[in-house]
């Protein structure tokens, strides 16, 4: 049983932390420490249980889509929408939403957790549904090897009680599906789109003879002005506000998960209507307006994500900036930049390069013969320069996680930036 006093005290810490402009994890840590059962007890109250979203790329965007789709179906949804995808972030988010007695007024929780934290989490709280997006080389300096990461996702799948939704095109995830008690549902890609979404092995040239694949519940069939999905055998087309082809594939994942959760109660028309209205998550192709021109923030965390982003967005007519930090949350190893192909930026060049590892990035571009404008490790200065030099032009900034947080903070002083803390 959660003790009301720890909820109350936690809320005060959260309030103070927010006044200080601090992060979301501190109040979470506080409550976790004084009341170990807080998260478990609170989530156990939910009638539809817990939905867990994990994988290397697309967690934040997909979680946001799932939340909005479920809300469109009439459910009251709790989520950890700060992108603080650690257990403490969940505790902190819960603190904001529970009443003083520790009661959470929601039907279902949709949580994004990174692989390592998810393993810890499911040990205490088995999810009813889980969605496994992909296993790519990300932050290997944190987890070791990609097969280890796949193993972590396997533990999440094992712990899931109702349905595991799996990316059919990821061979490591497909393997996990074999020994599960839970029901398995797949989302996937039409054959002709495979080249657009290489999995980790494809990207590294590994032998991937295409084997017989299981049928999908939701398949992304075509992308263009409208996105076309094949849902339960029927084609459905809709225009989307989501930017970038990779986000559209995340939408397929979110559709499959929502269908699993709603079961027979699903309202398919509302489902597609909600999907059409979803906007990108913060920093994931998010569009701000600066001096009357759009400025897009595109989060890049790993080679596959960076490659997919470069394919998703046309550089023509846009001033491009790249900001690379190497703090813990970004990953300290710069090797990943060398697994990204920057040829597509050769025609336009890159106007500005910044971040702690600006010179690593500039060096990378030099070897792909991409012209580089200003290089400045100071993010605030580089941003100001970039904004004034390209005042009349649409802009796009590719940035690592902590660089994105810093850039949003800077941009918040000159334009409307949604507060998501």
């Amino acid at each position: 049983m959660t003790k009301p006093y720890s909820v109350f005290a936690g809320k005060i810490v959260r309030y103070i932390a927010r006044l200080r402009g601090g992060g979301s994890a501190l109040p979470g840590l506080f409550v976790e420490t004084i009341d170990r059962g807080f998260v478990k007890d609170t989530l156990a109250q939910l009638p539809h249980g817990v939905v867990l979203v994990s994988g290397t790329n697309g967690k934040t965007t997909t979680t946001k889509i799932v939340v909005e789709l479920l809300q469109g179906q009439g459910l009251k949804v709790f989520t950890n929408r700060t992108g603080s995808n650690f257990s403490r972030g969940v505790a902190a988010a819960l603190l904001g939403d529970v009443d003083r007695r520790g009661k959470l007024h929601a039907d279902i929780a949709v949580l994004e957790l990174d692989e390592a934290h998810a393993v810890h989490f499911v040990g205490q709280i088995p999810p009813a549904y889980s969605l496994l997006l992909n296993v790519m080389r990300d932050q290997l300096d944190r987890f070791g090897e990609i097969d280890t990461t796949a193993g972590m996702l396997g533990q999440i799948a094992q712990a899931t009680t109702d349905t595991v939704v799996i990316n059919r095109e990821d061979p490591r995830l497909r393997k996990l599906a074999k020994h599960l008690d839970a029901r398995v549902s797949y989302f996937g890609l039409d054959e002709k789109l495979h080249a657009t979404f290489p999995n980790d092995d494809d990207m590294h040239g590994a032998s991937t003879a295409r084997t017989k694949l299981p049928p999908t519940d939701v398949m992304l069939n075509a992308i263009g002005e409208k996105a076309t999905f094949v849902i339960d055998g029927k084609k459905v087309s809709t225009a989307l506000k989501l930017q970038g082809i990779y986000n559209v594939y995340n939408a397929a994942a979110a559709l499959a998960l929502t269908r699993a959760v709603m079961g027979a109660k699903l309202d398919q028309k509302k489902l597609i209507r909600s999907l059409a209205e979803v906007t990108p998550a913060f920093g994931r192709g998010e569009r701000l307006v600066v001096d009357g021109q759009p400025c897009e923030l595109v989060l890049v965390k790993n080679p596959s994500g960076f490659r997919l982003s470069l394919r998703s967005f046309d550089p023509a007519g846009v001033a491009t900036m790249i900001a690379i930090n190497d703090n813990y949350a970004d990953g300290r190893d710069m090797s990943w930049l060398w697994d990204v192909d920057f040829d597509s930026l050769r025609r336009t060049g890159v106007a500005a390069v910044s971040g702690v590892r600006a010179y690593d990035m500039a060096l990378r571009l030099q070897y792909d013969n991409v012209a580089v404008g200003n290089v400045d490790i100071d993010l605030a200065g580089a941003l100001q320069n970039f904004l004034s030099e390209y005042k009349q032009s649409p802009k796009r900034i590719y940035c690592t996680y902590t660089a994105m947080l810093a850039l949003r903070r800077e941009l918040g002083t000159i334009t409307d930036v949604e507060d998501v803390s």
Binding site: R137, L140, D141, G144, E145, I146, D147, H204, G205, A206, S207, P303, D326, R332, D333, M334, S335, W336, L337, W338, D339, V356, R357, A358, Y359, D360, A362, L363, R364, Q366, Y367, V375, I377
Partner: protein, 241 residues
Amino acid sequence: MSAKKPLVILQLYPRDMNIYGDHGNALVLAQRAKWHGYAPKLISYNPGDSFPRDVDIIVGGGGQDSGQDNIQNDLLRIGPTLKQLAEDNTPMLMICGLYQLFGHSFKTQDGQIIEGIGLLDITTVAGPERLIGNIVTQSDLFGEIIGYENHSGQTTLGSDIQPLGTVIRGAGNNGADGFEGALWHNVIGSYLHGSLLPKNPAITDWLIRQAAVNKFGKFTPGDIDDNFAALARRHALKRPR
């Protein structure tokens, strides 16, 4: 002009052994060879392929355990060819997983012995923890070497081989003896990613020089702007482990 001076750069097992941006090493070798006035040709060798006859530089990287399983038999098969090439002073760069398998053996956590090709006089055992982080070493040949290490294998040099560098900051071959990497004839083994070659152009140019001397009798360096590399090195040195 440059068309007359081809240099063949062979990537060893890029399908299975190229984790952590090891492709960057091949890319940087090819680009700098071009900037030095040569005509580089980048080719791949994967398990089951026939080994090409004319090779001037060989690079190899690290892999998952599964990747190492895929290539091990094939590597043993071409081991004698590689040894001959090494004895003929062909420059090679082997990072992480292939560095280990170029040695005598690798003993896994559960005591299983994986046989290497014994080209380098080194042995490796799986350690209890991964050695991870930014690393700086000092080498007589190349000065300060800057990179990022990420390995659980602990490697010990035999009596017949010298280290690539001594550790200034980081763990190195095994976290105990202060050595990093290995150097024998023109073969460099190392745990350093980063990727290694972009931020250490001295090593890149040395590999190209050896290849050029082998093939054309001399090496005339081109004029390359290494300003970004110098600044990337300077900032990398300031980063925490």
